[in-house]
């Protein structure tokens, strides 16, 4: 009898010990390096925002946060890698919602918004319509009026043949009925140069690209996809949105953090808290203001709804206005 009680006692002690050992391990997340995948080339706008956020996150988690640039297929390669990769909470995806939805609208890729768990979004920037001051355009309505007066003559540039900007351009053209030419440039940098060189009548680009030039008066903002009320440059806050100009579409880009759907719920909860803290931190607020926008916080479930709605919208626009 004594032998058994001793064995039982040992087993009980061992179980207790293991439970105690296991519990801290779960509560110790994160204790390894976090890899934040930015599915774009280094040096671009998304990459800069991602790196700024990585710094903020590092100050909140006390482990290293490393940015991996895995570019390709319009952001899909990196996004798919995270969706199908290890779900231990140490590989995050940082991407913009309209980057994913636009890519999915145009490409048949093995990815679905349901493959992710949404941690939250921290940076919202509308897509705005710019024009060189020498074109003497002051509003989107004026652009459309001019286009209707001389059909086939005006040009509207976008940062690529697919993507949120193209969808916005196609929606504007389709809904307004005006006849202008959409010029798909090979990237935001090329469109930026074309705008600075006054080579197109107007261009659609993600805010706050070219904000310094807007401040200097060289470039005018003639329209925007979402309200510009959070931009740090006060004079353009009242720019009429697409909805106010007769085009009932809202388009912008919200950058957020995603993880694989298989990630454990406890990890997700901890991560959401940490990411929210980083997004609201004074360091990141300062970064955002310098970049051009005050950061926001969109909680995970809301962000997921936003993406799904946007995908529906984009597929509708493509089906109706882009042959």
């Amino acid at each position: 009898m004594k032998k058994y009680s001793r064995i039982l006692g040992t087993i009980a002690a061992a179980t207790l010990g293991l439970t105690l050992a296991a519990a801290p391990a779960a509560a110790a997340y994160p204790d390894q390096t976090i890899h934040m995948v930015v599915p774009w080339a280094a040096g671009g706008g998304t990459d800069s925002i991602g790196r700024g956020f990585a710094e903020a996150l590092k100050s909140v988690v006390n482990v290293a946060v490393v940015v991996d640039n895995i570019s390709g297929a319009g952001g899909l390669t990196g996004s798919i890698k995270v969706a199908k990769g290890k779900a231990d909470g140490y590989t995050l995806l940082m991407n913009g919602d309209s980057d994913i939805t636009a890519a999915l609208t145009f490409t048949d890729a093995p990815l679905d918004p349901g493959d992710f768990t949404y941690i939250g979004a921290f940076f919202e920037s509308p897509t705005w319509i710019l024009s060189h001051k020498d074109r003497k355009l002051t509003s989107l309505k004026e652009f459309l009026a001019r286009a209707k007066a001389s059909p086939g003559k005006l040009t509207l540039g976008t940062g690529g043949p697919t993507g949120a900007q193209m969808l916005m351009a196609a929606a504007i053209k389709g809904i307004s009925g005006a006849d202008f030419r959409i010029i798909p440039y090979s990237g935001g940098g090329a469109l930026k140069k074309a705008l600075l060189g006054d080579q197109v009548d107007a261009g659609i680009i993600h805010a706050p690209v070219l904000l310094p030039e807007v401040k200097a008066g060289l470039i005018k903002v003639i329209g925007t996809g979402l309200p510009l009320d959070k931009i740090t440059y006060a004079p353009v806050r009242k720019t009429p949105t697409l909805e106010e100009s007769g085009i009932p579409i809202r388009i912008g880009i919200t950058r957020g953090i995603f993880v694989s759907k298989q990630t454990a719920p406890e990890t997700v909860k901890i991560l959401r808290g940490l990411v929210e803290k980083a997004a609201k931190s004074p360091a990141f607020t300062e970064f955002g203001n310098k970049f051009g926008f005050t950061p926001v916080w969109v909680p995970g479930p809301e962000f997921e709804k936003q993406i799904n709605n946007e995908l529906t919208l984009f597929r509708y626009i493509k089906g109706k206005y882009i042959k």
């Binding site: 890899h35 991996d68 043949p161 697919t162 030419r181 959409i182 882009i322 042959k323």
Partner: protein, 162 residues
């Protein structure tokens, strides 16, 4: 392998490639995603390039074939690439090239499954052997040292997600 035979093979491969390219790009069912705004379509330039390649490789093929046939009628010296008697036989060279390719592909495939340091050191060791080194201690030492340096550089400093 005689160089002319190699040329014939290459030029025929190019011709087939060119033809395939032109056919594939012009096959019906290639969806355009966005309406075109210019007079050139997505298929214009690939078709031009494909046709040009077809033409040029056909000329190349014809020339090589002619040379091959005319060579048959007169004996030619063994086309050795170097006169020194000290060079390795072409058989060794070919084996080495083949082995290098196989080992290299194996290395890349294994990188996904085996730890970086182990597989890199192993690769270096095997490659030293393929290239003719035989002193096992020296090879092992350099392989391990090399693997460690690569690990330090690429995994530690550059943080490569391998």
């Amino acid at each position: 392998m005689n160089i002319t035979v190699k040329e014939i093979l290459l030029s025929s491969a190019l011709m087939i490639l060119a033809l395939a390219a032109v056919l594939v790009i012009n096959a019906t069912g290639q969806q355009t995603r966005v309406a075109d705004t210019d007079s050139l379509t997505f298929a214009t330039l690939p078709t031009i390039y494909g046709c040009l390649l077809l033409l040029l490789s056909a000329i190349f093929f014809a020339g090589s074939l002619r040379r091959f046939l005319s060579d048959k009628h007169r004996d030619h010296p063994e086309t050795t690439e170097d006169a020194e008697t000290d060079s390795p036989s072409s058989r060794t060279v070919l084996t080495r090239i083949g082995l290098t390719l196989v080992v290299l592909v194996a290395y890349v495939v294994l990188l996904d499954y085996v730890q970086f340091l182990v597989v890199t050191s192993l690769f270096l060791f095997v490659m030293f052997w393929v290239f003719g080194q035989r002193s096992l201690w020296k090879m092992a030492a350099l392989a391990l040292l090399g693997g460690a340096c690569f690990h330090g550089l690429f995994i530690y400093v550059l943080d490569l997600p391998i």
